[in-house]
Amino acid sequence: MESLRQVVGMLISGDPDLYEIIFLSLRVSFTAVALGILFGIPLGAFLSFKDFRGKQLAVNVLYTFMGLPPVLAGLFVYFLVTRHGPLGKWQLLFTPRAMIMAQFLLVFPIIAGLSMVAINSKAERYVATAISLGANSQQVAWTVIKEARLGIMAAIITAFGRAIAEVGAVMLVGGNIEHSTRVMTTAIMMETRKGNYTLALALGLVLLTISFITNSLLNYFQREVRT
C-alpha cells in the first residue's frame, strides 16, 4: 500500500525519473506501431487482393509470426546490431532505436495479419459492387480498405497492447539503462528482481492505467471514424 501511495505521489508531483520512463515507453511503442502500420496494412491488403502460388504458405508464416515470442524478436535484433553484427557499425545496441526495431518485429505481423482478415471480410461484398460501378482496381482496393477500417483499427489497438506490455525484447536490446533505455516493463522486471514486489506492482498499475487511457483515446478515434 505504501509503495502504491509512493508511486501515486511521484505521478502527482511530476517525478522526472518516472515520467522519463513513461514517455520513453510510449515513444518506443508508438513509433514501432506507426512503422507497423506503414508496412503492415499494405502487406495485409496485398495478401487479401492478390492470388499467387504459395500464398497459403505466406499466410501461415504470417500467422506464426503473430505469435513470435518477444525474446526471440529481441535475439533477431541483437544479432543484427551487435558490435560484430551486420549493422554493428551504427552502434544501435542499447539504444531506443534497437528497441523500436524489436517491437516492430512483434507488431508488424499482427497488423498485417489482422488487416488481411479485416479486408477479406469486406472484400466479397464490396469488390463486386465497386466493379459494377465502374471502379478500377486501385479504386476498388481503396474502397475495401476504407470499409475495413474498424477491423484495421482493432488490429492497431491489439498491436499497441502487445508492444507496450512487452519486456523480453526491450530488456535484451535496450538493456534497461537508467536515463537512457529504461521503460515501464523493464523497470517492473528490475524492481521484481530486487525483491521490491509492491513497488513493481504499483508501477504495473501505472502501466495499465496508461494503456487504458491510450486505448480509450484510440477507441474514441475509432468511433469518430465510424460516423
Binding site: G175, E178, T186, M190, R193, G195, N196
Partner: protein, 289 residues
Amino acid sequence: MWKKAKLGAKLLVILCIVGLLFTGCGKTESDTPSNNDPVEQSELAGKKIVLATTTSTQDSGLLDVLVPAFEEETGIEVDVVAVGTGQAITLAKEGNADVLLVHARADEDKFVEEGYGSEAWDVMYNQFLIVGPAEDPAGVKDSASAVEGLQKIAETGAKFVSRGDDSGTHKKELKIWKEAGIDPSGQEWYLSAGQGMGDTLKMADELRAYALTDEATFLAMDLELEVVSKGDPSLLNPYGIIKVNSSKEQEAASAFINFIVGEEGQKIIGEFGKEKFGSPLFTPDAKKR
C-alpha cells in the same frame, strides 16, 4: 462426417489431439528417472526443498555439481531459484524458500537478526574482478588498489556498467565507490543496467566499458573484456548459507546445509572449476557464525 463438421469443432478436435500428444510425451519422460532410482536413501528421501540463491552460483555451474551430489546422497530434491540477492531474500522472508545461499553479509546478518533465519554459515568465497576493454583507456591496470582503479575510471570518464539491481555484487561495487570518495550515480559515464551479471558483462563488452564482476561468472563467459584489477582484499566475495525459519521442511533444509558445509560439499566446492579454468573458482571456508 468429418467433412460436415463445423470448422470450430474440427479445430477443437485437432487441438485436443495435439494437446494429448504433448502431455503424453511429457509424462513418459518425467517418469523415467524416479523409476530407475535403485536405492531408498533416507527417511528424508522424496522431500523437496527450494533453494533461493544468486545468479552467480547458478551461472558459474557450481550448483549443477553440488545439487545433484546432494540429491543422490539423500534423495531430497532441490529446486533452485536463482535470482538477485534482493529478490532471493524477499522470497525467503515470504516463506517461498527453505534455504538461502547469497553473498551480502550485512543483509544476511539482518535476515537472521530479524528472526527470519537460523543456522547461518560461512560457506566459501570467491573474488571480484574489475574488468574492462583491452586498451584500458583509464589505465586501471597500473593502479595499486581497486579503489584507485575506480578513481581513475571516474577521472577519465571512461564508461562503467553497473549491475544497479541491489544484488550482492552491486552492493560491493557501491561500497568500493564509497571508499574511493566518489558518487557515480547520475554521471554520464556511469550506466546503471538493473540486470544480472551475465547481461551486465555482455553490455560492458559491447560498449567497451568497465565493470565489476565476480570471477566465476566472468570466467564462464566468452568475452573480449580483460581483467584490469584483481587480488585486492576489498574484492573478496564471501558467500553465506542460512536456513529459513518459516520452512516446512526444517530437517531437509538442515540436511542440505550440513552437506554444503560438510566434508564432501566443501571438497566439491574446492575442486570446482579446476578442470575447466585451471584453478578453482571458489575457496571453501565453512564456519558456523
